[in-house]
Symmetry: C2
Subunit: 342 residues, 2 copies
Amino acid sequence: MRKILLSSVALASFLTASDLRDEALKSGLVALPNDAKALAKMIDDASPDAKAYPTTMARIELGKRLYFDPRLSKSGIISCNTCHNLGLGGADGIPASTGHKWTPNPHHINAPTVYNSVFNSVQFWDGRAAHLAAQAAGPMTAEPEMASTPELVVDRLKSIPTYVYEFKKAFDSEINFELVTTAIGIFERTLVTPSRFDKFLNGDENALNKNEKAGFKIFIDKGCVNCHNGVNLGGTLQPFEVASKYQFADVGDFKGDANGMVKAPTLRNIELTAPYFHNGAIWSLKEAIKTMGSVQLGIDISDKEADSIGIFLKSLTGDMPKIEYPMLPASTDKTSKPELDY
Amino acid sequence: MRKILLSSVALASFLTASDLRDEALKSGLVALPNDAKALAKMIDDASPDAKAYPTTMARIELGKRLYFDPRLSKSGIISCNTCHNLGLGGADGIPASTGHKWTPNPHHINAPTVYNSVFNSVQFWDGRAAHLAAQAAGPMTAEPEMASTPELVVDRLKSIPTYVYEFKKAFDSEINFELVTTAIGIFERTLVTPSRFDKFLNGDENALNKNEKAGFKIFIDKGCVNCHNGVNLGGTLQPFEVASKYQFADVGDFKGDANGMVKAPTLRNIELTAPYFHNGAIWSLKEAIKTMGSVQLGIDISDKEADSIGIFLKSLTGDMPKIEYPMLPASTDKTSKPELDY
């Protein structure tokens, strides 16, 4: 009898790779294409501002500099990369991002990864920004984050001749705040990380090993895929059971704004971006998996199943783009001084 | 009469490039060699720990990761690169570095550039560290900087299997704090920036233009070269007129320790590393030049001469090494949590 009562982990291993793939695609999961041209088109299609501002090399390079330039902050020491660190999975590894004057995010919100964020249907946890450029304006001007103003950012950049030249080259325009955030957004479009998961969905049956396939099957069967769907395994607004069951009821400013909807985070590179949840309260991926089961799905996910799902999720760790650290142009006598507000 | 009273700027332009070069070499200035092998030897000769710990690719790569890894700090958000930002000339562009809990350096000390620091005869403003690895231990464990302890650093790194593997590969050893600082120091050895100044000293007479040569001549004639000498145009301990004339008497913790001696900063990349002086009180390079003239040399440097010296100093802005931003290995369940101490 004991031999017949196979666990779902064991059962999953009987499934053929081709069946699993069909099931995944039927569930709405989408792969990043292997082909670079197709990938570029997918990125464009996911960027509401791509028609107005197509991706060009000059814009990517400019956006990269801005992304790494701490002078966009009031203090001069916080850049986009401080909280969305490209070396740390595109996040910062702490529960709530810490900004100007060492202030924790007042809503105790965890910084989401910037990798693959172009594929989120909306940006911010509450989905209040339609695209990456609109998101970039937020932290830059939030008092407890980079604490800048659009005027401060534009004035600083205008005081640096290399930036004046680069905006002219990239946008045929003087510097303005919309172009600053647009350039950053265009750089962020490039931060996509194809993984073995994509290879598998694209038809390479051996791209995932047996244990990863088993975990993938459980991930689908348990219903995780209901919210963690599409090309980003997340990134769309979903109903969020704050009121009823979610154990961190005080996690955000999105409750009112989004009518109880919240952006399910992408699961790509999830292995790299602990701590988890909107308030970064959970450090263990296994615990996060089990909690989501009980809270969002109303089911029990066993330790063994959670381990198995975790093994699958690690196959979503992608190939990071090679990023040459940008050398930033020197400030001039006209550049406004950093304000540390000690 | 007016036509005969030529300024020293105009006079300098009569000097042949070859004479100027001879004078520079006689003054004790030394070029970075054009040849990579000779440069590597010069770096080794400048590294007191190079015999015990030769430079290898594995050590450079490991050291680079550590340099950029904010998990070496107590908070998990401050790395070596925060205050010695390789995109900002190897410094941070603020008067006094701001560390854990947004604390300004209690001695109001400006972060010196890490570029070419291997050629400083001693490290720190007061010269209390003999080499780069010894320096690296300081900020990491200073309460108002990265606020770590050697134990915290080693425990965090030991909890991350990729680091365990990389230390084994690089040093054939378990992780210990000496090897952490040694690896960072070895990475820093590579941060050298050959410039047009070096090409000129190496015999390319056209590497500097007429105005730069004129400024160079004034730089030598005025005596700037007395302290800003050797391969780094600085980087050695010099008597410092704190007691008598220097207008920033409260600038450091080096007064007692170093018997009134202070490390003259390198002038390489000086254009990129405002604000200037030990306390970062002066933002304008011209003002810094004039102040050093009156305070350290007891002479008046005219506006025109200071401009001319400034033009020369910008020829010291070097070719920055290409640095691929390192992707850092993921933390694990065993990694100790960041402590923000809000």
